[in-house]
């Protein structure tokens, strides 16, 4: 019965997608509420799985049906274990809240049928990804969410100016259709490499079932290790997928532009769910690589953890620097998302760097995923409301909105404080857990990166809160007020959804340590008791106590200047930049996204366009000319040559020279054969020949 909930969890939204146009034919309201209701049913089904977290000994559970028997037997289905239950709930519950928000936000949109189709298809694909019991269907969900992300980012495909993202000039704009394509292609690069990794795993393990992969790892991992370089290659290929999907360096550049989609799409896909799929996948592979490194002794397997941790830490820092200078509200949140996912990656990476922190690292990564999903979804939904009210995506077009949108301000502030890591909100507990795991791995450079990012996070968060809700009203807001535009909270469904998320954040904060402990128990049981991964037990590190203190100190270090600059306005940001040229250089560097985006465009986009033009002009055209002109011309010339130089002389030889020669010779011969010639010599010769011939005949006859 219980496993049925996992199937239903996937099925409801997947049914909802094709049902959207059918319901729309009956009545638009039936479509709207019907689609939200199906996501609600999915959320209920996922919540029904939660009790199993209290009985980890009953997990994992699997249910599967035969999908293929030849050339490979593949039973596809669902897997329930602590990780999939946590992920399914994050996805289904937050998705439902966002769907409720959409009822107001998307009201009146002429393409709502398409919108609901994409949204439910996305939710279904995401749930397929996290609940699948095998790598193939996980990959199917993976591709599905990528496609939905493309459809939803490019939702406003007519590319009207009001939906452009980027700017202000001279910085270039990006249209929604371009942003969608960019997301699809960049994540697609990671996807195909991931597929390569999965295929290599299949070659050695001959299974795609997750549990079988874990169970047989003692056989196939040592086999794989016999070929030097393969595990390193596998690490790179497997990591490429999560790096793309979770927007980590070097495939992080698609996420800022992905904000071209509707606000709730950013909340759903680019904050709460899809971007977490990379984190989920890494968590799925941790037992395999951990076994390879710590049990099978394959040193190459450590590369998976080293790469994950360093990519995570660096991305966290890189994205946070860009978040500090962003002028678009949703883009600032997007950078923040990239940065926070970096933290999750860091935690999962350090989980395998030390044999004693597997459970801590794993738990802190997933714990941060859960808390981030809550507060970032809330931040994005609130941002949607703010943009809805301010009629602008730019922070400088907002200001002092607190007085018009008090509820949104409170909800967004709660979420922002959680993002910063202010106790006792969940962001504090989860980030503290990440920092503690990093410290316990004794990798101090990584820990330093993480701490610096705490400062930056604190700075950019207070910056955007200050620019949106505090200070003076912007000219834009003033104009809107003068025009009589309604400046206030959005539709009820919008602020109620934000409120529910804010309450959930507060509750998660109050329950934070218990929640962390609860998750830890579940993961420990699964990783250590069920999968038999060895974990070294060490005494509680005294340094661990100092982590919360350090975390708060670094939050304050970032918060104070941001407060002075953007809330109290004791310092002038522009004046500071003018005063300190070095600061201006850094500002420009961060604003230009470390020049990575422009480099990619120049190298990959322009490069491939140039290469394709080169192929068309310099290879295809000459080949075309060769086959269809030169070869044809050559054949024509050859035929002309044959006609002129061979056929004509032959013709002459056969039809002129030979007949004339024969005629001449025959004439001469005949002339000479005549007996009545006046040449005695010829006559005597003929007579002699005749007699000799006659003599021979006679001799032959006599004999």
């Amino acid at each position: 019965m219980s496993i049925l909930f996992a199937w239903l969890c996937i099925a409801f939204p997947l049914i909802g997608a094709p049902l959207s146009p059918v319901l729309a034919k009956i009545h638009p309201k039936l479509r709207d509420y019907g689609e939200v209701f199906l996501s609600f049913l999915s959320a209920v089904a996922s919540v029904m799985l939660i009790p199993y977290l209290f009985y980890p000994s009953k997990l994992p559970m699997e249910s599967a049906v035969v999908w293929l028997t030849v050339p490979i037997e593949l039973r596809v289905g669902v897997l329930i274990d602590p990780l999939s239950i946590v992920m399914a709930n994050v996805v289904a519950v937050i998705s439902f809240i966002i769907m409720v928000y959409c009822l107001g936000y998307m009201k009146g949109d002429p393409s709502l049928t398409r919108f609901w189709m994409w949204m439910n298809l996305f939710i279904g694909s995401m749930l397929l990804l996290v609940l699948s019991n095998n790598l193939l269907f996980l990959f199917m969900g993976w591709k599905g969410v990528g496609l939905c992300s493309y459809g939803l980012i490019g939702f406003y495909y007519k590319d009207e100016n009001k939906y452009w993202i980027g700017g202000p000039p001279p910085t270039s704009y990006c249209t929604p259709s371009h942003a969608g394509l960019k997301a699809l292609v960049v994540t697609g690069v990671g996807d195909v490499l991931l597929l390569g990794g999965i295929l290599i795993i299949f070659f050695y393990s001959r299974t795609l079932n997750l549990l079988e992969l874990y169970e047989t790892s003692s056989v196939w991992i040592p086999e794989m290790a016999k070929s030097p370089g393969i595990i390193l290659l596998l690490s790179l290929l497997i990591l490429a997928g999560p790096i793309g999907k979770s927007a980590q360096f070097p495939l992080h550049e698609w996420l800022p532009e992905a904000m071209a989609g509707p606000g709730p799409v950013s909340a759903l896909i680019h904050a709460a769910t899809m971007v977490k799929s990379g984190v989920y996948l890494i968590a799925r592979f941790i037992p395999i690589f951990y076994y390879g490194y710590w049990v099978a002794g394959c040193s190459e397997a450590s590369s998976f953890f080293i790469l994950t941790a360093w990519i995570g830490a660096f991305t966290a820092f890189l994205a946070a620097t860009q978040g500090m200078v962003s002028l678009e509200l949703k883009k600032a949140l997007a950078y923040s998302t990239v940065s926070q996912i970096g933290y999750m990656m860091l935690a999962l990476g350090v989980a395998g760097l030390n044999s004693s922190i597997l459970v801590e690292g794993f738990t802190s990564g997933i714990f941060h995923l859960v808390s981030h999903a809550l507060f970032k979804a809330c931040l994005f939904l609130c941002a949607g409301s703010v943009i809805h009210t301010a009629h602008s995506i730019y922070l400088q077009d907002m200001g002092s909105l607190k007085r018009y949108m008090p509820y949104t301000w409170i909800f967004m502030l709660i979420a922002a404080l959680s993002l910063i890591g202010v106790p006792p909100l969940p962001g504090f507990w989860s980030k503290d857990a990440v920092l503690a795991s990093t410290l316990e791995a004794h990798n101090y450079p990584l820990f330093l990166f993480a701490l610096i990012t705490v400062v930056l996070t604190s700075f950019y968060t207070i910056r955007f809160i200050g620019m949106v809700f505090h200070g003076r009203e912007s000219e834009n807001v003033e104009k809107l007020r003068q025009k009589g535009v309604h400046l206030g909270e959005g539709y009820r469904t919008m602020w109620v959804s934000c409120g529910i998320l804010a309450i959930m954040i507060v509750l998660a904060g109050i329950l934070g340590p218990r929640l962390g402990h609860f998750l830890r128990e579940g993961f420990q049981y699964n990783l250590v008791e069920k999968l038999h991964l060895p974990v070294e037990h060490v005494k509680e590190n005294s340094m661990h106590v100092s982590v919360p203190l350090l975390s708060v100190i670094f939050v304050i270090i970032g918060a104070v200047p941001a407060y002075l600059l953007y809330i109290s306005h004791r310092l002038d940001p522009k004046g500071m930049l003018e005063k300190y040229p070095t600061l201006k250089v850094f500002h420009q560097f961060f604003w230009d996204r470390w020049y990575i985006n422009s480099l990619y465009y120049r190298f990959f986009v322009d490069g491939i366009i140039k290469l394709s033009a080169f192929v068309a002009k310099s290879i295809e055209d000459p080949m075309d000319r060769f086959y269809h002109k030169k070869l044809v011309d050559g054949i024509i010339k050859l035929s002309a040559f044959v006609a002129k130089s061979i056929e004509n002389p032959l013709d002459k030889a056969y039809h002129e020279k030979l007949p004339s020669l024969i005629t001449k010779m025959a004439y001469n011969g005949l002339m000479r054969m005549r007996t009545e010639t006046r040449e005695l010599l010829y006559n005597v010769t003929y007579i002699l020949i005749f007699f000799i011939f006659s003599l021979f005949i006679m001799l032959w006859v006599i004999k």
Partner: protein, 502 residues
Amino acid sequence: MIPYVLLQTIVVPAMASIFIFLTRHKLGRKAGWIASITLLYTTALLVIAGIKVYQGEIIYEEYPFVGPDIKFDLLADGLSLPVALIMNMLCTVLSFYSIHYVEHRIEAIYAEVDERKWRSTYTSFFYLFLGFPIGFAGVSLVTNLIAMYFFLELLPIVLYFIMAYFGYVERVRVAFMCLLWAAAGAVFFLAGTLLTYSQIGTFRISELHALVGNPWTVWIILSFLLALFPKMAIFPFQVWMPWVHAEHPTCIAGLLAVYANIAAYIIVRVLILPLRDDFKVFCIPVMIMALITMIYGSLLTMAQDDVKRFAACSTISQLAYSLLGLAALTTYSVEGGMFFFLSHIMGKTLLFSTAGILVYITGVRDMRQMGGLGSKMPVTALIWIMGSMMLSGLPPFSSFPAEWIMFTGIFIRSVQAPPIALVVAILGVCAIALTVAYTFWGMKRIFFGPLKANLSNHEIKDPPLTMSVPLLLTGVVSIILGLYPKVIMDLFHFVIGGLLPS
């Protein structure tokens, strides 16, 4: 069981073709419906045969022909039947699609003709068109090389006339060019066939295994490959394809993709299954050629502005995927390669036909003059995106499991082979990203963004249902096979699984 079920799939379209020809001045527009209904019937016959084959039967029909060595035997097994069925289904789809499209071509080319001439021209398309299903069914069902050669060479002749009569600007020149390329391939095919006969004394495909270990076998395989590579447009024999696709009437574009792809079936039937060990020597070189073609074709596609050439160049790239799978010579890769071939021809039919719809409705071929059509032609945009997804191997379409099974086999071969093979496999997977890039970029150029001023008139709308519904149904078939690939994989495995090691 219906008698002569396989023979009927060839003879019934032939009779319909003759009937249309004889009544060409009377039938007019009905010719399209007669051809389409005939093909619906033969598709239904093949479905019935398919059910029998799925239940484990092999359908074999024997008919006398020239002599004891050249019989007209027809065989439907797990390999030939799905190939024949899907190809026949696509012929049916495109026959319906052509009912309106051919009218448009005649108006464009022969605007001034009287009613009698119009009828004669219109009907001529359909009696010629029926040559395609005859040829495809023949190639997939016959059991000897000479008969296969006959049907294979019937196709370019039909193609020549249709292109010359109904094509675009340079139709006569390009039709002739296409015929010459086919003739060049035919020479090698015939050479391979005769060499085979000289060694084993029979043309029967089932006896080809007698060539195993024969020193001439390498030359025979090479000869067949040289015959089939130009058909598959493998680099450096690809140059004809953009021309042909640019000039032919778009209603047969999907069939041209089938025509090119059928070489994959021949490679499996004639070379890989009976001569696997001898084929091994070609394995890595052919994989490399396929990889080069995949990347080359993708880059070439990106450089195109003409929507018809765009689809043509993508075919070059996509055909090479199947070849990569076949050359890897594992059960997974060959079965996956065949499945990918069928998925690809369905996807390509959608994509090409959408290009045809765009030309039919807008009269524009240059993608730079398109843009924003999604709002005016949502169904057409949907068909294009379905085609793009099918080509890119995205779920839930059949190309997703096909690509996955095929690449599984490629990786199995590559991990065991020299490192170059693994590089080829990884780059091959990476080439999928290029497919995603160019198909969806095409989507953006044609359907997204603001509507171009030249396309804002009221006549710009989705095409008639006879054009769009068959294409949507093709997409549905692909989805069904994508969600439940067991049916087709079981069929392939009956034949391929027993002959190739897993």
